[in-house]
Symmetry: C2
Subunit: 185 residues, 2 copies
């Protein structure tokens, strides 16, 4: 907790509403800077990692999978939840290997992002993976996905056309392009 | 529901776990493509709009606000939840006006994005607002924020340095830069 913020909201009380398998939900009572109190509903999530692997032909390795909450199949950057106590870098190496079979000679960290900071504490750590070696994929039992390698600039076009609606995927693609533009001849 | 997907998960049963003020949570039993059953925990959210307003000097209007779930103040693109039955375009016009006082002569739609499709059905509709006119801001009572106009390319640099960790903000900034690069002399 840090109260050095201009618009700080001071926690006064908390009520646990739900202990789920993936998420928990609590409702906190907070004091606003005008002295009034308000409720804040908070979804607690373990956080995850996002790994955009780009080969030396500028092809990015994407995974197509069904997303039950939205009843759609999406093309996404490989990603997954962090296991309890797992460091983000270890999670990134593990998830990339599990979903695509790839290992990376170089991993560049773009930082932690918050997909929905208004109501959820989920943090996603985004990595760019380079200098790739192909091995055997080993997805979790009951995890179904298909890997597709697609040109990075084509992916940016797809994002602008609305064909790549996963938020973390758009983030990773544009950050990777910007990084590669600056750091490669 | 659509079962034309390769990795479709068929809903078999549903249990309501929580009816909250902002989110609801349910746990569905689904049938996987291998015939096994699994649980899916789904957070239901009303969805929202994101509006990146860019003026003729390429400055983007950002809002700084405290995000209680992560105990941090973030610099974000203006955004807000959709009201019941509200069309996304109407929500975008309303939220931009409320938070910044701006009205736009031109609104470009970049499509709907999913911040966390693995466990949440939240959809965020992203707009670029151009041809701006300044009026009076009118934030909700108990909504505290400060508007800052920042150069669009500087914002992209900040994103790459990890100084702009809000997912929807990174999405909107890079999509806007790509759009403006293609559509302006």
């Amino acid at each position: 907790m840090n109260n050095n913020y201009e618009f700080y909201e001071k926690p006064l009380d908390t009520a646990r509403l739900l202990e789920g398998k993936i998420v928990n939900v609590r409702r906190d009572t907070v004091e606003l800077i005008n002295g009034k109190t308000a409720f804040r509903e908070v979804v607690e999530h373990p956080g995850g990692v996002v790994i955009l692997a780009v080969d030396d032909k500028r092809r990015a390795y994407m995974v197509r999978q069904y997303r039950y909450p939205i009843c759609k199949e999406l093309l996404e950057v490989p990603a997954g939840k962090l296991e309890r106590g797992e460091a983000p870098l270890d999670g990134a190496i593990r998830e990339l290997k599990e979903e695509t079979g790839l290992t990376a000679g170089k991993l560049i960290y773009f930082g932690g992002t918050y997909p929905s900071p208004g109501f959820c504490d989920e943090q996603l750590h985004i990595y760019l993976a380079l200098e790739l070696s192909q091995g055997e994929a080993c997805p979790d039992e009951d995890e179904f996905l298909r890997v597709e390698a697609i040109d990075l600039d084509e992916l940016a076009e797809m994002a602008l056309r609305g064909e790549l609606p996963d938020g973390k995927t758009i983030n990773a693609i544009f950050m990777a392009r910007e990084y590669l533009r600056k750091n490669q001849a």
